[in-house]
C-alpha cells in the first residue's frame, strides 16, 4: 500500500489523517505527562521526532539484515541508543528542557509510536519513505502535544509559552495542570477530533498479527482475546 504513495503523502498522512496521538491513540504516556506547558510539549515532540527519524532510518536500512525472530530486541537496542543520544544532546545544549522532561525523556524508549512505526512501516519500506513517514508522524505528534500543552497552560496557569494572558491569568484553574486535567483535556480533544472526522470510534489499527506485537499492551484487540 505504501509503495504507490508519493513522499509528500507519506509526510502529510502523519499530520492529519493518521495523527499518532489523536487518531491512532498511541504514545499516551508522554502526551499526558509533559504537556503542563506548551513549550515542554514542543520539546518532547521534537525529541521524539529525532528518535523516530533516527530509528526509522536505521531500522529500514537494516530491515533485510535483522532476522525476523530477534527483530523486537534489535529494534529496542536501536531505539534506546537514539534515546541516549538525544538525552546527551539536550543535557548539553538545553539543560532547562532536560530537567523539565526528566524521566519521560528516558521513557521515549518505550513510546508505542516509535515501536509502532518501526514495526508497521520502517521494517517494510525503503529508507527514504521511512524517513518521510517519521517526519510526518513526528510533526503530527509535536502538533498534538503543542495543542494539549497550550490548552492546559492557558486554562491551568493563565499563560501561553510563558507569557501572561490577560483575564485568564487572574484566576487560573489549577486542576488543568494537574494529572486529572491531563486526562480530561486529552479526552475532550479526542472527542472533538472524533466529531470533526465524523468517524465511528474507536479507530481500527491496521496491523498484521498480534503475535509478539510490541504495542499489544495497549491494543484492545489483544486485550479482548484474554
Amino acid at each position: 500500500m505504501a509503495e504507490n504513495k508519493s513522499l509528500g503523502q507519506e509526510i502529510s498522512k502523519g499530520i492529519l489523517k493518521e495523527n499518532p496521538t489523536l487518531v491512532m491513540l498511541l504514545g499516551m504516556c508522554p502526551t499526558l505527562a509533559v504537556t503542563t506547558q506548551a513549550m515542554n510539549g514542543i520539546g518532547m515532540g521534537l525529541a521524539t521526532t529525532f528518535v523516530l527519524l533516527g530509528s526509522n532510518i536505521v531500522i529500514s536500512a537494516l530491515r533485510k539484515a535483522i532476522p525476523d525472530k530477534v527483530r523486537i530486541p534489535a529494534f529496542i537496542v536501536i531505539i534506546a541508543s537514539f534515546v541516549t543520544l538525544i538525552g546527551f544532546l539536550l543535557e548539553g545544549f538545553v539543560p532547562s528542557l532536560y530537567d523539565s522532561l526528566g524521566i519521560y525523556l528516558t521513557l521515549i524508549t518505550v513510546n508505542c509510536i516509535i515501536f509502532g512505526r518501526a514495526e508497521m512501516f520502517a521494517s517494510k519500506n525503503n529508507v527514504i519513505a521511512s524517513a518521510c513517514d517519521a517526519i510526518g508522524m513526528g510533526i503530527g505528534f509535536t502538533l498534538a502535544l503543542f495543542l494539549m500543552g497550550s490548552v492546559r497552560e492557558i486554562i491551568g496557569a493563565g499563560q501561553w509559552l510563558g507569557m501572561n494572558i490577560p483575564f485568564a491569568h487572574d484566576n487560573p484553574m489549577l486542576i488543568f495542570i494537574m494529572p486529572a486535567g491531563g486526562f480530561f483535556t486529552l479526552g475532550m480533544i479526542i472527542a472533538i477530533v472524533n466529531k470533526l472526522k465524523n468517524r465511528k470510534p474507536p479507530a481500527e489499527i491496521k496491523c498484521g498479527s498480534c503475535e509478539k506485537c510490541p504495542m499489544s499492551g495497549g491494543c484492545e484487540k489483544e486485550a479482548e482475546k484474554i
Partner: protein, 192 residues
C-alpha cells in the same frame, strides 16, 4: 521501617504510577474492561516490576558504575527487562502451567510497559538502596493494580451508560480516568 512504609505508601497512593505519573497508560486503558483481566494484569506488572528491580539494581551498581558506563542504563535496562520477561514466560509455561494460565498470558504485553522501565530508572535516580528499591517497586505495582481494579469497576458502569457518540470509547474512558485521578488527589500531602 518508617521510611519503608513511607516509600511503599507514597508509591502506591500519592505518586500512583498511572494516575499521577502517567506511566503504563496503555494497559490501563486497554486491559481494564474486565475485573479478572485487570487483576491478572496488575499482578503480572507487580511481579515484573519487583523482578526487574532485583535484576537491574545489581547490574547498575555492579557493572555499569565501576566501569563508568552509567549513561548506558536505558539501553541495558530495557534489554535486560525484555530478556528477563521472555525467560520467565518460558520457564513458567514449562514448570507451573496453572500459574502461566492466570498470569503468564499478560507477560508479553508488559515487556515494553513504560511503568516497568520507569520504576527501575526512578530507583536509580532517587538513590534508593536495594531494599528501598524493591519496596518502591512493590508499592508501584500494587498502586498500578489498585488503579486498574478501581477503574475496571468504573468502566463496567460506563458500558450501560448512554454516552453521546463523539465521546464513545476512548474519550469517555479518559474523562472517567480524570475523575478517578481527582479522587487520588485526596491522598496528596499524606506524607509531607
Amino acid at each position: 521501617m518508617k521510611t519503608m512504609m513511607v516509600i511503599l505508601l507514597s508509591a502506591m497512593l500519592t505518586d500512583n504510577f498511572v494516575l499521577s505519573k502517567f506511566m503504563g497508560i496503555c494497559p490501563f486503558l486497554g486491559v481494564s474492561k474486565k475485573l479478572g483481566s485487570a487483576t491478572g494484569m496488575g499482578l503480572a506488572v507487580t511481579f515484573v516490576m519487583i523482578c526487574a528491580t532485583c535484576v537491574t539494581y545489581p547490574i547498575y551498581h555492579g557493572i555499569l558504575v565501576p566501569n563508568g558506563l552509567e549513561y548506558l542504563n536505558t539501553v541495558v535496562f530495557i534489554l535486560v527487562i525484555a530478556l528477563f520477561v521472555q525467560l520467565v514466560e518460558t520457564a513458567m509455561k514449562k514448570t507451573i502451567p496453572s500459574l502461566y494460565k492466570s498470569l503468564g498470558v499478560y507477560l508479553p504485553l508488559i515487556t515494553t510497559n513504560c511503568a516497568v522501565l520507569g520504576v527501575t530508572v526512578l530507583n536509580i535516580d532517587n538513590g534508593y538502596t536495594f531494599l528501598q528499591s524493591v519496596v518502591n517497586a512493590l508499592g508501584g505495582g500494587l498502586g498500578f493494580m489498585l488503579s486498574l481494579i478501581i477503574f475496571s469497576g468504573v468502566r463496567k458502569k460506563m458500558e450501560y451508560a448512554d454516552i453521546p457518540e463523539m465521546f464513545r470509547g476512548v474519550p469517555a474512558t479518559l474523562i472517567a480516568a480524570s475523575i478517578v485521578s481527582v479522587s487520588f488527589m485526596g491522598f496528596s500531602g499524606l506524607f509531607s
